[in-house]
Subunit: 324 residues, 4 copies
């Protein structure tokens, strides 16, 4: 079966509601319309909510940015402030605590390079605190980063590398940044999701071996993700659904035709999608043409946001100065 | 209307035959199955062929490479030799003639960077022939290159830049390389089209102002293109067609249902596609995830092919040595 | 003879004064110490000044930035405003005039990529003014850009490409940006020179064929340059001079020793330098290790400055918004 | 004191012999002139040799390549075979053993990117052996890679990251690749050093905390290095020495002048060098202008060499096929 999946809790919830026409017990939604962004908090509170959305119990904040704000310094700063604020809501950071910022993804593949690019712009201070503490203000917190690469490049599961490092340097919290897949073209490069449940590749499928979360690492894990692609299979799937919906709306609900339309199941759709995308299926992605430009802006917004969260004693100007 | 278009003559011909179930008068096809590649020559001989395929009268050679040959030096060399051979079939190059190789496209956008990357690997000799002719063998031909950038970056129509340069330096022939869009996922990064009709953005639409061909430049123009993307609209369109075809095959041909299916026209499909791809439409592209790697290999194959065509007095080892 | 040369008029003047201990007739210096930068205007007014500084008659403004300001948005904006102001002092830009911004240098060689990177961030408007004038404010001026590449890559003299384009599209003024060589390590990536004399490779040597200036192009030419490297030969030469100066200061001025020291001439120094730098000589450059980071900031400062100069009706925030 | 240091044992030995005019007890030299390269083995056998060369006891093989062979596939393959052969001389690799290849250095700084670029081209197989052993030949050995970044970027000592990973995944041997500094311009991008003593930043200074070797990691460590830069201080130092040597050769050995020349000590030279290079000193590097091109070829030569060493059951064509 083709998995037309989303990494965003807010989309999983929208999809569920669209199909089942009702709210889920165990999922609390809170929306807030800000000046520079719309913020949606999805709180999954019990097992039912977790199963129905296919995501672990916990908090998911989605920041939806307005269109075309990429080069607008003021809105970028606003969104960074929002990112910083919500990170601090999810993790306690007192000044003694050491943070490890992990850039997931493949630096060489543009839409997957978000994580490594964010780490490039984090204010790295742990080594200064250790080697020359007198050169740095006491209220600057110790931060370190790693961009471990992807399994196909390293031959090592990413979680193994992170776990090894966490066990060696004992950070108090971990912030992971990753490029996500969206269900909706509209969210590509426009939404930032912050959660306290870590990264669960294939969540819901129960592949616990690969989870990067508090459970596997033993320290608090914040995950920040931006959908940078839609799988081509999603486009194909949506096209098929739309055509079926449209045809069904014309049909007499007692006709053979209507029965035919409504009995097209996932299995049959999968076969159609495979035929369309053959021979690529898995790795065929849809991106806006200008993705190479946009990723840099997104990485900067998120890096400034993380710097704001971790270094509350620095003002925005100082942080921008250190965030290249 | 959404334009689900192809830049490849061989695909335009396949599409025509699929829809109309017959050959076109004015289009001659010749196929040859080689060891490292399949070669299809499409010769458009008259106005009827031109109109039906939406391409100018002339010769179009498509080289279809086997799967996953990107890192295989031997097959790469074989394909380069084929490219070189067919360029020489289309343009007369005696040793006195100066060639201008033009890399079209945007260097900053990975799937569009093919042209500029090819020019990076062309053996550039014109300045040596002019400034220190004694340093270079007499039988090396003068070659120069330009990667003029795209309209959105320069503010100047590409053809204006090329025309200005052709009028200034008077090359005897021009070879243009461009990244194309394909109708079929299977051809992405696997086909090389060589033609003697130049580049006609929006061909068939009659926008003669922007054509880069013998007519506009006054010298022979060879165009080399590789499909590096499929438009997302194509995927959506194919999905819709496939679902309709499938449903139609089940239906009684006299039923209301069948009539409904067969009366879905281009206009209605366009509306559906726009709904799926909103808000991006035009610039949403589908690429294999590993496109960043593949473009380099393709650029090298084509550059070596051009070097072989222009410098017949050098052997392949010498050419590879100068092609970084 | 090794040419330990500088592209900066202000350095040529400093060197002359150091050697000859006097001012030059025909060179007027004006210094101004601003908050974010020191500005030195060198005006070469006659042939004597031109010969002695090895630069054409005209105006040269050097903006020396403070240390380590690269990531400070406010100082970057200040310097951009200064750049914009002095460009406007040198060229008349009324709203009807079309500007062509030329990025000289090799995009693939980091310290030489400044020019092409500046063009990437120019607000390009000429095509909008031509194709959809209603979509753009009347007081936005038409601007276009080109990054023509370097002779070794294209096989075409850069001035030929620019001349061809100027003759085709008829801009009213040309702004060229180029990476320069400095005599002094201290100026690397810290000084911006703006002049109205164009670019004269090997100026003073009289190679008029290659000059990019009002004479060769027929329109006003502004040149903007930043020293991004020092030639290794300069370091070697300075080391030799310094050791000789030091030894001489100890010596009795009547001694054989002193005579020996003072008779080391350019020819002998050249031989020593060649011995040190063998086998590279010409292409061995000295750069700070972090050059890859710094060039991006410099390109942005200059691009914003040019945008300010050309688009006086837009405010800084709008300009920053369009300058990625 | 300015440290005019070399990372190459063969240069340290040349320097020692030049100054002291004699061989060192405890250093055995073996030279071999091959067709595509000259090979020098330096074996440091005892403490005296170690102290005098400032390098740990062990084996150092230097492969000096001929000039300008970068784009010659055949010579590249020859050098790769030599690299592979000498790696196998230094470490026992039977088919059960897992190798970890570590790319040291900063991917963003061109001359320092060698290590990360080599890891990009290593045949990574460990995950395949673990997850789908049936998909891969039994005689392919398990290999994994990491490019951990540099202290200034991560805030974590590189050796800490590698140690954490070695303790987690238990490789049987580690191969580290690093960009080095040379004493001699002639060796830049032309020499490859392979040693079994690991990487000792500041070796001789006794900073054991930072060593990456068998001692610190508990498994065999092979270090492969290529000098990609010369420190600017080295150029300045050499210039000063050369001028002093030249002056001294003219002088009467009893004169005041000669005494003055010969009493210029390291301290005084340091002051001169600082004056020349002010304000940069430490991070000012000298590179050939075309460094951006050359690093890719070097990375490929070394990666193919490592692949040959680790995968003796594959032939060169198969290895080239997998080495992008």
């Amino acid at each position: 079966m083709i998995n037309v999946r989303t990494d965003l809790a807010v989309e999983a919830n929208e999809d569920y509601k669209k199909v089942h026409k009702r709210e889920i017990d165990g999922v609390i939604i809170n929306e807030e319309e800000g000046e520079s962004a719309k913020i949606t908090e999805v709180k999954i509170t019990n097992q039912e909510g977790s199963v129905k959305l296919g995501k672990p119990i916990g908090n998911y904040i989605t920041i939806d940015m307005p269109e075309l704000t990429m080069y607008d310094g003021e809105i970028m700063d606003d969104v960074s402030e929002i990112v910083g604020k919500y990170i601090r809501k999810l993790v306690d950071m007192d000044s003694e605590k050491t943070g490890l910022v992990v850039g997931l993804g493949n630096r060489q593949v543009t839409p997957d390079a978000l994580g490594p690019k964010v780490t490039d712009s984090i204010m790295v201070t742990r080594h200064l605190k250790e080697v020359m503490p007198e050169a740095i203000d006491d209220d600057v917190r110790p931060v370190c980063t790693i961009a471990p690469g992807v399994l196909g490049i390293t031959g090592i599961e990413t979680v193994e590398i992170i776990k090894a490092l966490v066990e060696k340097i004992h950070p108090d919290f971990v912030i992971c940044i990753d490029a996500l897949a969206s269900r909706k073209i509209q969210r590509v490069n426009r939404s930032i999701q912050i959660s306290d449940t870590g990264i669960s590749p294939g969540a819901g499928v129960g592949n616990h071996r690969l989870e990067i979360n508090e459970n596997s690492l033993g320290v608090k894990v914040i995950a920040i993700g931006v959908p940078t692609v839609v799988h081509a299979a999603t486009i194909a799937n949506d096209s098929i659904d739309l055509v079926i919906d449209n045809l069904a709306s014309y049909a007499n609900k007692d006709s053979e035709f209507y029965k035919l339309l409504t009995k097209i199941d996932k299995e049959e759709k999968s076969i159609l999608i495979k035929e369309i995308l053959n021979p690529f299926i898995g790795d065929l992605i849809v991106t806006p043409k200008e993705v190479d430009y946009v990723i840099d802006s997104l990485a900067k917004i998120i890096a400034v946001g993380i710097n704001i969260a971790i270094q509350p004693n620095l003002d925005l100007e100082e942080i921008n100065k250190f965030t290249n």
